[in-house]
Amino acid sequence: MKGTLNLVGYGLSAIGPAIATGLIFAAYINGVARQPEARSVLQPIAFLGFALAEALALFGLVLAFVL
Protein backbone atom coordinates (compact mmCIF):
# COMPACT_ATOMS: atom_id res chain seq x y z
CA MET A 1 0.00 0.00 0.00
CA LYS A 2 1.40 3.36 -1.01
CA GLY A 3 0.35 6.86 -0.11
CA THR A 4 1.13 9.80 2.07
CA LEU A 5 0.12 10.31 5.66
CA ASN A 6 -0.73 13.96 4.85
CA LEU A 7 -4.00 12.88 3.31
CA VAL A 8 -4.97 10.91 6.43
CA GLY A 9 -4.29 14.05 8.43
CA TYR A 10 -6.38 16.09 6.04
CA GLY A 11 -9.20 13.61 6.36
CA LEU A 12 -9.13 13.97 10.13
CA SER A 13 -8.92 17.76 9.99
CA ALA A 14 -11.84 17.97 7.57
CA ILE A 15 -14.15 16.54 10.23
CA GLY A 16 -14.17 19.84 12.09
CA PRO A 17 -15.32 22.10 9.22
CA ALA A 18 -17.82 19.45 8.17
CA ILE A 19 -19.48 19.48 11.58
CA ALA A 20 -19.29 23.27 11.65
CA THR A 21 -21.05 23.59 8.29
CA GLY A 22 -23.71 21.18 9.45
CA LEU A 23 -24.32 23.13 12.63
CA ILE A 24 -24.46 26.46 10.79
CA PHE A 25 -27.06 25.32 8.31
CA ALA A 26 -29.02 23.42 10.94
CA ALA A 27 -29.35 26.63 12.90
CA TYR A 28 -30.15 28.61 9.74
CA ILE A 29 -32.89 26.21 8.64
CA ASN A 30 -34.30 26.16 12.16
CA GLY A 31 -34.41 29.93 12.30
CA VAL A 32 -36.03 30.33 8.90
CA ALA A 33 -38.56 27.59 9.65
CA ARG A 34 -39.61 29.25 12.89
CA GLN A 35 -39.67 32.76 11.49
CA PRO A 36 -39.66 32.96 7.67
CA GLU A 37 -39.43 36.75 7.61
CA ALA A 38 -36.05 36.57 9.38
CA ARG A 39 -34.53 35.00 6.27
CA SER A 40 -32.97 38.17 4.90
CA VAL A 41 -31.33 38.83 8.26
CA LEU A 42 -30.07 35.31 8.79
CA GLN A 43 -28.86 34.56 5.28
CA PRO A 44 -25.73 36.79 5.23
CA ILE A 45 -24.74 35.53 8.66
CA ALA A 46 -25.14 31.92 7.59
CA PHE A 47 -23.15 32.49 4.41
CA LEU A 48 -20.35 34.22 6.27
CA GLY A 49 -20.19 31.43 8.81
CA PHE A 50 -20.10 28.92 5.98
CA ALA A 51 -17.27 30.85 4.32
CA LEU A 52 -15.23 30.94 7.54
CA ALA A 53 -15.71 27.23 8.23
CA GLU A 54 -14.97 26.34 4.63
CA ALA A 55 -11.80 28.45 4.68
CA LEU A 56 -10.36 26.17 7.35
CA ALA A 57 -11.16 23.08 5.27
CA LEU A 58 -9.45 24.61 2.24
CA PHE A 59 -6.41 25.55 4.30
CA GLY A 60 -6.15 21.94 5.37
CA LEU A 61 -6.48 20.75 1.78
CA VAL A 62 -3.79 23.11 0.50
CA LEU A 63 -1.39 22.39 3.34
CA ALA A 64 -1.87 18.64 2.89
CA PHE A 65 -0.61 18.98 -0.67
CA VAL A 66 2.10 21.57 -0.01
CA LEU A 67 3.86 20.37 3.12
Binding site: A51, L52, L58
Partner: protein
Protein backbone atom coordinates in the same frame (compact mmCIF):
# COMPACT_ATOMS: atom_id res chain seq x y z
CA UNK B 1 -31.46 36.16 -3.88
CA UNK B 2 -33.49 33.73 -1.86
CA UNK B 3 -34.19 31.51 -4.87
CA UNK B 4 -30.54 30.78 -5.63
CA UNK B 5 -29.00 29.83 -2.34
CA UNK B 6 -27.25 26.81 -3.81
CA UNK B 7 -25.69 29.00 -6.45
CA UNK B 8 -24.50 31.45 -3.82
CA UNK B 9 -22.91 28.66 -1.82
CA UNK B 10 -21.05 27.30 -4.84
CA UNK B 11 -19.79 30.72 -5.79
CA UNK B 12 -18.59 31.32 -2.21
CA UNK B 13 -16.56 28.12 -2.51
CA UNK B 14 -15.23 29.32 -5.87
CA UNK B 15 -14.13 32.63 -4.38
CA UNK B 16 -12.32 30.93 -1.51
CA UNK B 17 -10.52 28.50 -3.80
CA UNK B 18 -9.43 31.15 -6.27
CA UNK B 19 -8.25 33.48 -3.51
CA UNK B 20 -6.06 30.74 -2.11
CA UNK B 21 -4.75 29.70 -5.50
CA UNK B 22 -3.99 33.20 -6.81
CA UNK B 23 -2.26 34.67 -3.78
CA UNK B 24 -0.73 31.39 -2.71
CA UNK B 25 0.59 30.99 -6.24
CA UNK B 26 2.08 34.48 -6.21
CA UNK B 27 3.74 33.69 -2.87
CA UNK B 28 5.03 30.39 -4.28
CA UNK B 29 6.52 32.23 -7.23
CA UNK B 30 8.22 34.75 -4.93
CA UNK B 31 9.61 31.88 -2.90
CA UNK B 32 11.05 30.18 -5.96
CA UNK B 33 12.58 33.48 -7.04
CA UNK B 34 13.97 34.85 -3.79
CA UNK B 35 14.44 32.06 -1.28
CA UNK B 36 13.89 28.52 -2.58
CA UNK B 37 14.53 26.85 0.79
CA UNK B 38 11.74 28.40 2.82
CA UNK B 39 8.06 28.88 2.21
CA UNK B 40 7.37 32.09 4.08
CA UNK B 41 6.00 34.03 1.13
CA UNK B 42 3.66 31.21 0.26
CA UNK B 43 2.37 31.09 3.83
CA UNK B 44 1.78 34.86 3.77
CA UNK B 45 0.14 34.48 0.36
CA UNK B 46 -2.27 31.84 1.64
CA UNK B 47 -3.28 33.95 4.63
CA UNK B 48 -3.63 37.09 2.50
CA UNK B 49 -5.63 35.28 -0.16
CA UNK B 50 -7.95 33.71 2.36
CA UNK B 51 -8.49 37.02 4.11
CA UNK B 52 -9.19 38.76 0.81
CA UNK B 53 -11.65 36.03 -0.25
CA UNK B 54 -13.56 36.21 3.01
CA UNK B 55 -13.67 40.00 2.63
CA UNK B 56 -14.98 39.53 -0.91
CA UNK B 57 -17.62 37.08 0.28
CA UNK B 58 -18.67 39.63 2.90
CA UNK B 59 -18.91 42.31 0.21
CA UNK B 60 -20.95 40.14 -2.14
CA UNK B 61 -23.19 38.27 0.24
CA UNK B 62 -22.75 39.64 3.75
CA UNK B 63 -23.92 43.22 3.52
CA UNK B 64 -27.49 44.04 2.74
Amino acid sequence: MASNEEGALWSILGYLISGLLIWGGIGYGLDRWLDPHHHWFMLVGFLLGMGASIYLVWLRFGRE
